[in-house]
Amino acid sequence: MINLFNFESTGAGDQESRRRVRAWAAVILGARPEDVLTVSELRCGEDACADLETLIVLTPAVGVRRVLKVAKGVSGIEQADLLDALSKATSMENQV
């Protein structure tokens, strides 16, 4: 269960982790300065979703959006997780 009522939380989250993940993702996805990269930690809890997962979305100024999905919170993500997610995403894209 996610602790919604956390009195210790500053609400800022693990910003250092997010910066690190964002930097790795920018390189792995080849983000350009004009593109928008978002890092979202989701806890929606729907049946089809993991309890906690991170979505990294590259929205290019022009072109197709790319999504990397990691079934972990941001603070637990390593560079290898992103490479693995990229491999899965590429595989899915090739099947389409």
Partner: protein
């Protein structure tokens, strides 16, 4: 010393076609308000108007994850906001106009999904314009119109010149039954002050609950208030036998015998009326005070003495309508004193909308763990139907309030101001579809420490 960049507030403007959004936007762009505003809207190309900027957006819904409603955002906004954030010049405000049929949820959720976005931008509020003339038909026929009203922090009833006062009152009453916590404004030609339209504070957690007790009460505890102007002295309060053996009354002094004064006073009277009452029998002497009396009215004619210490205005709140007991006030000379006015209340706030508001309040402290389990489960299972919720919570062992807001299942909360000398209580508000007050209250009570 490091300098913290102030977040740019964002206002979302919703409303059906013809509600007056474009008129309001044109005023925002052209009036001399001294603010540098970026407007993201649907119809124009990218053009500059004086010192402002207008950016075209094409609604692009993006389901980030498995079609889950809480992970649905506006892809077009992510792109445009990302570009705006990179610009060298700063904006004082961003206004996003949505199409008439847009669902406000993905727009609002766009601001919660990314930390960089949250660091630079602050969703200030959702303003919904409604056409006083045509909204009633839209509410009957379009789920989007209901959702736009339910999501709103401010509802501007526009084109008021096209309807009668009675129609206007009926419309506002209906809108309040859907969204009891929005601020209401009225305009004939979208001519409300720009500041009121764009400085909303609807997502400000520190202001999360500016809620009136009238809304938090499941029902009015009294059916009528008779307001009198009385000289100092002794009166008789006479009641004939009625449908019940007792009737609760509360007599309080008012600063003046006006409707506006009563508007203010009745909020507190609701709280006081629900305090423990003192039971009395005919012949007892009553005085103005902050706690209610329970009058025995079993005899055919029941007379109580009423001592008024100071001349002035007085409100007599009564559990039942005065007509039911032929309630009357008689002065020392035997003359009947007529009230300046009598206000009747709808006893149970009945309405038939599928979308509505539920407010809950309890004084006892809550157990954080139980609350976390209940709220987590509630938002997971019912989050699709709960459009917005907000609350101020009294958690056991904590000196500070906990404040939160949620849009569907997306939840943002943090410790707020210390309680200090203020009475501790928890208040929750849900706005959504097919809400079951009883079930919500039972769940809430299950979180008591």
């Amino acid at each position: 010393m490091s300098q913290v960049m102030e977040k740019v507030p964002v206002t979302v403007l919703t409303g059906f076609l013809g509600a007056g959004k474009t008129t309001l936007l044109n005023r925002i762009l052209s009036e001399n308000h001294g603010l540098r505003i970026a407007v993201i809207e649907n119809e124009f190309g990218e053009i500059g108007i004086d010192n402002q900027i207008v950016v075209n957006a094409e609604e692009e819904i993006f389901e980030m994850n498995n079609g889950c409603i809480c992970c649905t955002v506006r892809g077009d906004l992510i792109r445009i906001l990302g570009q705006l954030m990179r610009r060298k010049e700063r904006f004082d405000h961003i206004v996003i106009e949505t199409t008439g049929l847009a669902d406000p949820a993905p727009v609002a959720q766009t601001f919660f999904v990314d930390d960089e976005m949250k660091e630079a931008l602050r969703l200030d509020g959702i303003v919904t314009l409604v056409d006083a003339c045509h909204l009633p038909q839209h509410l009957d026929a379009d789920a989007e119109a209901l959702a736009q009203v339910a999501f709103a922090d401010v509802i501007v009833i526009n084109k008021t010149d096209l309807v009668s006062n009675e129609e206007l009152e009926a419309l506002e009453s209906r809108l309040r039954s859907i969204n009891a916590v929005a601020r209401f404004e009225r305009a004939a030609h979208a001519d409300i002050p720009i500041e009121l339209a764009i400085r909303v504070g609807g997502f400000d957690l520190d202001r999360a609950l500016a809620i009136k007790p009238t809304f938090l009460m499941p029902e009015w505890p009294f059916e009528a208030t008779s307001v009198y102007q009385l000289a100092a002295g002794r009166y008789e309060l006479v009641l004939l036998a009625g449908p019940d053996p007792t009737i609760d009354v509360l007599l309080e002094a008012l600063p003046a015998a006006t409707e506006a004064v009563l508007d203010e006073a009745e909020e507190l009277a609701i709280v006081r009326f629900t305090d423990d009452s003192e039971g009395v029998i005919p012949g007892a002497t009553l005085t103005p005070r902050n706690t209610p009396w329970t009058l025995d009215v079993q005899a055919a004619r029941n007379v109580y003495l009423l001592d008024v210490p100071v001349a002035g205005a007085y409100a007599l709140y009564s559990q039942h309508g005065p007509d039911e007991f032929s309630l009357g006030l008689i002065d020392a000379a035997g003359g009947r004193i007529e009230p300046i006015f009598v206000r009747a209340y709808d006893p149970d706030h009945e309405h038939d909308e599928s979308v509505g508001s539920v407010g809950l309040e309890i004084d006892e402290p809550l157990d954080a763990k139980l609350l976390n389990q209940w709220m987590g489960r509630l938002l997971r299972e019912r989050g699709v139907d709960i459009f917005r919720s907000k609350g101020v919570l009294n958690i056991e062992g904590q000196d500070r309030r906990f404040v939160y807001q949620a849009v569907h299942m997306l939840f943002e909360g943090r410790p707020g101001e210390p309680w200090g000398e203020q009475a501790r209580k928890s208040q929750l508000v849900f706005i959504g579809r097919n809400l079951d007050r009883q079930a919500l209250m039972e769940g809430f009570l299950g979180c008591l420490a």
